[in-house]
């Protein structure tokens, strides 16, 4: 019969019309994930034996850690452990390699963050672990400080950095400022301020090399002042 196929098609869509929807209302209803689903990669600092297997096996250099020798022992001590999840392809190799199940996948798949830097996770050892070696804290944390550097070399490095930053500001490369302000538009705003005033530029560059916290504060103050100056007269116009 002509049109039999059409009727069959209509029948199929009619049947589907009454079937249960397969949509999952995600934010309200969480999807039912499989047991071995690889969500976020997590790290448990307590169990880590600093064997370095994970960093060796990782194909994308996602994992890195800093360690320091434990005083009075051959063992090492964890200073910080970094998972830069933006490069992770969730291949499971590190989890397989880890002998103490310190690295593991969770079912958390909500990995998006507001800023790029937040994807990177830095774990530090738990407080109890630090208490055990309380007296050696001071020499433990600044890892660079353990290797004493000749003063002249440090000074040369500092000057080099200073020059690099000044050069970048002169060229208008606002990327150097990203670390010191919260938003990109602030960075470009700060750049215009610095370019306009040579004195500010020198001072800022020195601060950026010597005292990063202070540089942040000064940058925020500059930006806030500029914004006030900018919006003030404009509001008057309207």
């Amino acid at each position: 019969m002509i049109g039999k196929g059409l009727l069959k098609g209509l029948g199929i869509t009619f049947k589907h019309g009454w079937e249960k929807n397969i949509t999952i209302q995600y934010p309200e209803v969480m999807p039912n994930l499989q047991e071995r689903y690889r969500g976020s990669l997590e790290f448990d600092p307590q169990n880590c034996i600093i064997c370095g297997m994970c960093t060796k096996v990782c194909p994308n250099n996602v994992l890195s850690f800093e360690s320091a020798p434990m005083p009075g022992s051959k063992k090492k001590q964890l200073v910080s452990y970094t998972i830069d999840l933006q490069y992770c392809m969730f291949c499971n190799l590190c989890v397989e390699a880890c002998p103490t199940h310190t690295l593991y996948f969770t079912h958390n798949f909500e990995l998006s963050t507001a800023r790029r830097g937040e994807i990177k996770r830095v774990y530090s050892p738990p407080a109890e672990a630090q208490l055990l070696t309380g007296e050696s804290q001071a020499e433990l944390i600044p890892a660079e400080a353990l290797e004493p550097q000749p003063d002249a070399e440090a000074e040369a490095k500092r000057l080099k950095q200073l020059q690099a930053i000044k050069g970048a500001i002169a060229r208008g490369n606002s990327k150097v400022l990203d670390k010191f302000v919260d938003f990109e538009e602030d960075a470009s705003l700060l750049m215009t301020i610095l370019q306009a005033d040579q004195k500010k530029q020198d001072k800022m560059a020195e601060l950026m090399v010597d005292d990063k916290n202070k540089a942040r504060k000064v940058a925020a103050a500059f930006v806030a002042k500029e914004k006030r100056d900018k919006t003030g007269p404009e509001e008057g116009k309207h």
Binding site: L6, L10, T13, H16, G17, Q25
Partner: protein
């Protein structure tokens, strides 16, 4: 309940005459009011229909469809309309500006004019025209000119191809559409839509003219440019066909007119084949709404079931199948009428 709208109209007329207005002016104001009501009905209908279309397609595809705004997502279309109203109105630099701008206006005007003769209940046609059906069919084919205007004015290859397809489709499908309705007209003996409804007092014409109904339904789908005959739009081939260059409210007018045409064609099907406003218990205007919506549901069901037909198949289907079938239907109907007359019914 049955005559509530007629009563309101009569009350308003007598009130205006009582105020000292000439009866002619009162009638004119009532006619304008009727048109305003029709435009209101069209707008509300479109809002409901867009929501319904999305819900129906969702259910068929085992999705939920719009469900965020209001109960069951019912306000989604209102939000969409607000968005369309605030969008930028872009007229392409190389477009034929006059034709480009007037095409959507003509389209919506033609669509609204279809409602003049539709009896939206007993004695509820705005104009009780004695050639109502003829008027309806001739106006229905005018909408193609608006599509051609849109396609030509846009100065865009997709638009023009879409418009030309629409014209070819209209020329092919207007004939079986008119022929399929001839059977009904022959039995009812009138072109007046109200008379045709009255002629179905005892038996709906769907039982007497099933072939005509099927031909009408297929031809109407093609005339409406709806799936599976949506060749003029054909998103996958022509981006949006004749509507490619339109934005914001101009585009929305096309959309509005398409759904308006859908309602009109479905209401005509309900009038000609399903006894119009006839039905038990409920008032006639409610019955015609129910029947129209049921027919529109079938239109949507078909759209979300069948894939788009190829252009040459579309045309050959009309010329080689629908026109012979509708001609045969006229022949059989005529012979049957003669037979019954000879038997003395």
């Amino acid at each position: 309940m049955e005559t509530i709208f007629i009563d309101i109209a009569e009350f308003l007329t007598s009130w205006m005459v009582g105020l000292g207005l000439a009866p002619l002016w009162a009638d004119l104001i009532i006619t304008i009011l009727q048109w305003a009501v029709i435009v209101l009905i069209i707008t509300v209908n479109t809002i409901v229909l867009v929501w319904m279309e999305r819900k129906v397609s969702g259910f068929i595809q085992e999705r939920i469809g719009p469900n965020r705004l209001g109960p069951f997502g019912a306000f989604q279309t209102i939000a969409d309309t607000l968005k369309l109203l605030t969008k930028e109105d872009i007229v392409p630099a190389r477009a034929d500006k006059l034709i480009f701008k007037t095409a959507p206006m003509f389209f919506i005007i033609v669509s609204v004019m279809l409602y003049a003769v539709l009896p939206l209940g007993n004695n509820m046609a705005v104009v009780n025209l004695n050639v109502g059906l003829f008027y309806f069919i001739s106006l229905g084919s005018l909408s193609t000119i608006c599509l051609l205007m849109a396609g030509w004015g846009s100065n865009n290859k997709w638009s023009l191809v879409g418009a030309m397809r629409s014209v070819a489709q209209m020329i092919s499908y207007e004939i079986p559409l008119a022929f399929s309705l001839l059977g009904v007209v022959m039995i009812a003996g009138s072109l007046n839509l109200s008379d045709i409804v009255t002629a179905q007092n005892r038996l709906w014409f769907i039982i007497l003219q099933p072939v005509a109904f099927i031909v009408y339904f297929i031809a109407a789908t093609a005339e409406l440019n709806r799936g599976p005959f949506d060749m003029p739009e054909a998103e996958q081939e022509l981006t949006a066909g004749a509507y490619t260059e339109y934005t914001g409210m101009r585009w929305a007018l096309f959309f509005l007119a398409e759904y308006t045409n859908l309602v009109a064609v479905s209401a005509l099907a309900a009038t000609l084949f399903f006894g119009g406003g006839q039905g038990p218990l409920l008032p006639s205007w409610l019955w015609i709404i129910i029947k129209t919506y049921l027919i529109m549901l079938v239109f949507m069901w078909m759209k979300w079931t069948f894939p788009r037909i190829r252009m040459d198949h579309l045309l050959s289907f009309s010329w080689k199948v629908l026109i012979p079938v509708s001609l045969a239907n006229i022949l059989v109907t005529g012979a049957g009428l003669e037979l019954f007359r000879w038997m003395g019914w």
